[in-house]
């Protein structure tokens, strides 16, 4: 332990060193922890009246060196690790991008997603095209994600981010439902999502349209990747949002009926599909009311295959047919629906 080799300039420093020597247990051949040294020195500093002593002590600390026998003793003083997201890799990525090394392109859902509030609840709509740069990688993906039996969420942006974030919040909501015994509220989902997204400072690239009906009524919110939210009667997100918003701004009115609402949502999504290159294929619609939800997958298919073989697919003659009888799987476990939820 190299304390003895420290610069001793005043008699007070000698007192410190003496205390340290005492602390160092002679029977156990062990080095003093850096933290212990710090505490001892600090105690001396606090109890000392003179300023000189303090400055000398700081010089003393700096010249302390610890032997390399302990694994962490090469560092000067232990600093606790910073909490939160570490942006070091982001900086590295920026540096690499400047040198021309670009990261692989993410699978984005260049998208049109919309939501609107009608008489009895909320209607959400989305297109079904997922793109990877200039290529369509999924012609019929699902962009309306389940959050709770009464809450659904459309996602635009990086597909992995929207899936992961909605899955995560959906399970958090489920746990919360078990904990409280009550139906989930839309503001709960909203707060969980916005806290998560803000925490990651926009690096989780998920732009969401969250809609649902709970005890307080129908709600529709938009959530941006950086964590800001809006509460709106009608909303659009994604690359096709301007085309869809043009339809909404010219045709939306309050107190729409269910069929009018579905028609307006379909029109807005079609506007996105036909006027935006990042959106395409079919229209998904989800209607949420107090009574329940209706998920209309592929409600409209305005882009069918132009040419199809009328005979369908015919297997080559030499293919071996193993069985023509279909045996359904046997049910081993009986699923009990409902259960006893706690009374309000």
């Amino acid at each position: 332990m190299a304390v003895e080799q420290a610069n001793l300039c005043t008699p007070q420093d000698a007192a410190v060193v003496r205390t340290l020597r005492v602390f160092r247990d002679p029977h156990v051949d062990r080095e003093l922890e850096p933290a212990t040294v710090l505490i001892i020195i600090t105690k001396h500093v606090m109890s000392s009246p003179s300023l000189n002593f303090q400055t000398q002590i700081s010089g003393l600390i700096l010249s302390l060196s610890f032997s390399g026998q302990r694994n962490m003793s090469n560092s000067v003083i232990e600093v606790p690790p910073k909490g939160g997201f570490s942006f070091d890799l982001c900086k590295r990525n920026e540096m690499l991008a400047k040198k021309g090394v670009n990261p692989p392109s993410f699978r984005k859902t260049g998208t049109t997603i919309v939501g609107l509030v009608f008489q009895d609840g909320v209607i959400l709509g989305a297109d079904t095209r997922a793109t990877e740069g200039p290529i369509v990688c999924d012609k019929n993906c699902e962009k309306i994600h389940y959050m709770a039996p009464n809450i659904y969420c459309c996602g635009a942006g990086t597909a992995a981010d929207t899936e992961a974030v909605t899955d995560m919040v959906s399970s958090q909501l489920q746990l919360h439902r078990y904990h409280t015994g009550r139906e989930s509220r839309v503001v709960t989902a909203l707060t969980l999502l916005k806290r998560h997204l803000f925490n990651y400072q926009g690096h989780v690239s998920a732009a969401l349209v969250l809609g649902g009906v709970d005890v307080t009524g129908p709600h529709l919110h938009t959530i941006y990747p950086h964590g800001s939210t809006d509460t709106l009667p009608f909303a659009t997100m994604g690359s096709g949002s301007l085309a869809a918003m043009a339809v909404f701004e010219s045709k939306y009115k309050e107190g729409l009926t269910r069929n009018e609402g579905i028609e307006l949502v379909t029109e807005a999504i079609c506007s996105g599909i036909f006027n935006d290159l990042g959106s395409g294929s079919n229209v998904d619609v989800c209607v949420i009311t107090k009574g329940g939800k209706e998920y209309l997958r592929n409600h409209l298919q305005p882009n069918p295959r132009t040419y199809t073989n009328s005979k369908g697919y015919s297997f080559p003659k030499k293919t071996e047919v193993l069985l023509t009888k279909i045996i359904p799987l046997k049910e081993k476990v009986e699923i009990i629906e409902g259960g006893d939820a706690m009374e309000e």
């Binding site: 509030v117 839309v186 503001v187 909203l190 707060t191 307080t216 009524g217 709600h219 919110h221 939210t229 809006d230 509460t231 709106l232 009667p233 301007l242 085309a243 918003m245 043009a246 339809v247 701004e249 010219s250 309050e254 029109e267 506007s271 036909f274 006027n275």
Partner: protein, 245 residues
């Protein structure tokens, strides 16, 4: 769309004195222009705002002008470059009139001239920072075309510049049809301009609608659109979500 994004071309090939003579960024800009063909000719709408960056500096800018007897030109982008273009076209029309041969330049010819001017300026890295809409009717033939600052030109039944491409074109694609009456055409244009007013930050509620027919060009007095803000959800947006925004 974002006109203020500085487009710095490679100026290592040109001398240092050439820099001060070239348009590098737009300063006073006009926002979108929307136009469509209707039964008797062309209808065009543009608001009267000239923005200086993010301030609305000028509120009485006429961005649509008649060219000769048969054409109507609307421009978005840098206002000074639009005034320069008007000067070029003045010279062109004057030269044509001096021939005094009973023939006059129609919209197709003016459109072609503008395309050549814009493309050649772009090739010299000194563009006229405008997106132009040229409409007109000559001998019963309606014509509506557009030229961008890099020289992209095409003609169509309905065109728009800037934000109008994203917000107005979808509406026009759905609701435009052949042989619109004047009232229907105006209503459709107003629908597009209303959406632009709601959703474009550089739009103002003071617009003019110009029409050109065989008889000539008329431009309306500036007027404003009615807007609707009385959605109950706007009054108390966080009613059910206390603490949210």
């Amino acid at each position: 769309m974002n006109f203020m994004a500085s487009k710095q071309p490679e100026n290592s090939l040109l001398g240092p004195e050439a820099d001060s003579q070239r348009t590098l960024y737009p300063y006073v800009t006009g926002t979108s222009v929307v136009a469509l063909k209707y039964k008797d000719g062309i209808l065009m709408a543009a608001d009267m705002g000239g923005s200086y960056g993010s301030t609305l500096r000028y509120k009485n800018v006429e961005r649509m002008k008649a060219i000769g007897k048969h054409s109507l030109l609307g421009a978005s982008g840098e206002i000074s470059d639009f005034q320069e273009i008007l000067r070029y076209l003045d010279d062109l029309i004057l030269y044509d009139n001096m021939w005094d041969d009973g023939n006059s330049l129609g919209p197709k010819e003016v459109h072609n001239y503008l395309t050549r001017v814009m493309y050649n300026r772009r090739n010299k890295f000194n563009p006229l920072w405008n997106s132009l809409v040229l409409g007109g009717i000559k001998n019963g033939q309606k014509y509506l075309g557009t030229v961008s600052m890099i020289g992209v030109n095409f003609e169509d039944d309905h065109v728009a510049t800037g934000f109008g491409n994203h917000l107005a074109r979808p509406i026009l694609r759905q609701e435009w049809h052949e042989n619109l009456s004047f009232e229907d055409g105006v209503k459709l244009l107003e629908k597009c301009m209303r959406v632009l007013l709601y959703r474009d930050r550089s739009a103002i509620n003071k617009l003019q609608i110009a029409k050109i027919t065989e008889e000539g060009m008329t431009i309306s007095q500036p007027y404003s659109l009615k807007t609707y803000w009385e959605f109950s959800a706007f009054e108390n947006p966080t009613q059910g979500a206390v603490g949210s925004w």
